[in-house]
Amino acid sequence: MHPRLRLLAALALAGWLVLPFLPLAVWSVAHGWRFPDLWPRALSGKAWGYALSDTAGVLDSFALTVFIALSTTVLAALVGIPAGRALGLYRFRGKGLVTALLLAPAILPGLAIVFGLHGIFLRLGLVGTTGGVILAHLIPVLPYMTLVMAAVFSAFDTGYEDQARSLGASPAQVFRHVTLPAILPGLLAGALFAFLISWSQYLLTLAIGGGRVQTLPLVLYSFAASGRNDITGAIALLYILPGLLILVVTSRWITGRSAAVVGTLRP
């Protein structure tokens, strides 16, 4: 491709990727920005001040969303590591079926199961509880975590574990000192994206939270629906902050092959 044409294409791509953030950022500091003004009458920190105030509840919501995403991630890791080990290391009858069962919740739209789930959780008294929301988030998160761990384990040589046992390590010591360090990079990459999947859930939280579990996307939507564009802009930027931080910290890992693992399930 001609270098100038290539540069043009690159600029167009970069511009398109950045574009939707621009009005959000400007709105978050806008004071009076009516049609057809190209730029706000004045800039102000009022929207940010409100979003970050104790009374607005946005920060509480932020903390709650972090708590839910962290809990979901930890649970998914606890369950996903052994399951990933089974899928990554062994061949067995019914493996295709198990893989399909693991893929299905990740590929099927949340709407396909959310009504049935709502019915079950109603009966279990989990609707409207944070625990219920965490459990519901496991449905899209766990498959993802399991498949990432399966990929990690399929590249792991269990000879290291045998070697450690023969050097006097107990099974718990083997996991702590040999297996865990070996799978840690994959586990962290899986955990970060498990966090982000839970972090961006909308429908499952709405249905299972029953309006009582107000995570950040729900708060964001209610401000957007009420037409408070300035506060919406501030919350939206607040909402994408953890993802941005994670990316900056880990950008070296999320290149190449791991991006494929990471991107396999969630568009």
Binding site: R165, L167, G168, A169
Partner: protein, 347 residues
């Protein structure tokens, strides 16, 4: 120092129905360096894993000294194993790897560091402690893996094909190191290998495993001079077999009478002689032979002979047979002390 005893050991892999180890009896004397030799599929790897505790025996017993270790988990057996590939933990330094087992036992860090230092110099890796395993050459990695097991002063050391992953030039060095350290420490050591040359050059004694059973156990010379069966003889390069009858200390076979050096009871039998034991020229048991072919092998020359229509092979120094041509008639002798009558299978 500890004797390893395998008693009627049996194990088959689930779903195969075929036993990989079939009633194996073996006593590895305390302080020896013994090779567990066998072709692939002979059950030697299974035996090793049974001893290390990575597999469970169906029947039989495994004892170290007086202690049965059959049902102990791997870490409580006092058996340290060095795998074929070095398997150094990539997230630890070389020193961290060598001190791993001591750390698992909960020794003080100072103590561990001290012992690791002295171990590093014993395997000639001084100064390599702080490095990552990936920065080591293949030979250095293998030495670090050996050090990692030896530092635990195990009752039994298992080495799985310790030389096979190394370049030929490094093998002698590693072989020397294993012999030297084993003598110094006196740790009972079992080397698992499929390479008979490796077994012969490395070990004090060889236990040959064929088809899940012990075929012969003894010093390396025995496998050449006194093989327990035709199969054992062939495994060690035996090619000359003559069937006939023993009458009054003389073997009567296809090439004529052969005087035996030991007394053997009368009866049918199979006689074997190493190709390198045949001599050119006159001597006891001399026969005329026709040269059927010559093959230069480098350090030796193989001479294919026909004696009274029976094919025999001789290995000789190349300059010794330099003048020979195919078709020549020569005198060849079969020294009585090199003749070995294979034990007759029990009737």
């Amino acid at each position: 120092m500890t004797t390893l005893t395998l008693q009627a050991l049996e194990m088959s892999y689930p779903g195969t129905g075929v036993a990989a180890v079939k009633g194996l009896d073996l006593v590895v004397e305390s302080g020896t360096l013994t090779a567990l030799l066998g072709p692939s599929g002979s059950g030697k790897t299974t035996t090793m894993k049974l001893i290390a505790g990575l597999l469970r025996a169906d029947r039989g017993d495994i004892r170290l000294g007086e202690r049965s270790i059959r049902d102990l988990p791997p870490e409580r057996r006092g058996v340290a194993m060095v795998f074929q590939s070095p398997l150094l933990f990539p997230h630890l330094t070389v020193a961290g790897n060598i001190g791993f087992g001591l750390r698992m036992r909960g020794l003080a860090p100072d103590d561990i560091a001290h012992r690791v230092q002295s171990m590093l110099s014993r395997v000639r890796l001084d100064g390599f402690g702080p490095r990552r395993p990936a920065a080591l050459s293949g030979g250095q990695q293998q030495r670090a893996a050996l050090a990692r097991a030896l530092i635990l002063a195990p009752d039994l050391l298992l080495l799985d094909e310790p030389l096979s992953g190394l370049d030929p030039s490094l093998r002698d060095e590693m072989r020397g190191l294993i012999r030297e350290l084993q003598r110094e420490t006196g740790i009972t050591t079992l080397v698992v290998t499929h390479d008979q040359a490796e077994a012969v050059t490395l070990s004090d004694r060889i236990a040959l495993l064929l088809d899940g059973r012990l075929a012969q156990h003894g010093p390396p010379e025995d496998f050449y001079r006194r093989p327990a069966s035709g199969t054992v003889a062939r495994f060690f390069g035996g090619v000359n077999f003559l069937s006939g009858q023993v009458r009054a200390g003389v073997f009567h076979g296809p090439i004529g009478p052969l005087q035996l050096s030991e007394h053997v009871p009368d009866g049918d039998g199979t006689l074997t002689i190493r190709p390198e034991a045949l001599r050119l020229g006159p001597g006891p048991n001399a026969h005329m032979a026709k040269v059927a072919g010559l093959t230069f092998l480098g350090t030796q020359t193989r001479v294919d002979l026909l004696i009274a229509g029976t094919a025999l092979q001789m290995l000789a120094a190349p300059d010794q047979v330099a003048g020979l041509r195919a078709g020549a008639e020569i005198l060849v002798s079969l020294p009585p002390d090199a003749l070995w009558l294979l034990p007759r299978p029990p009737a």
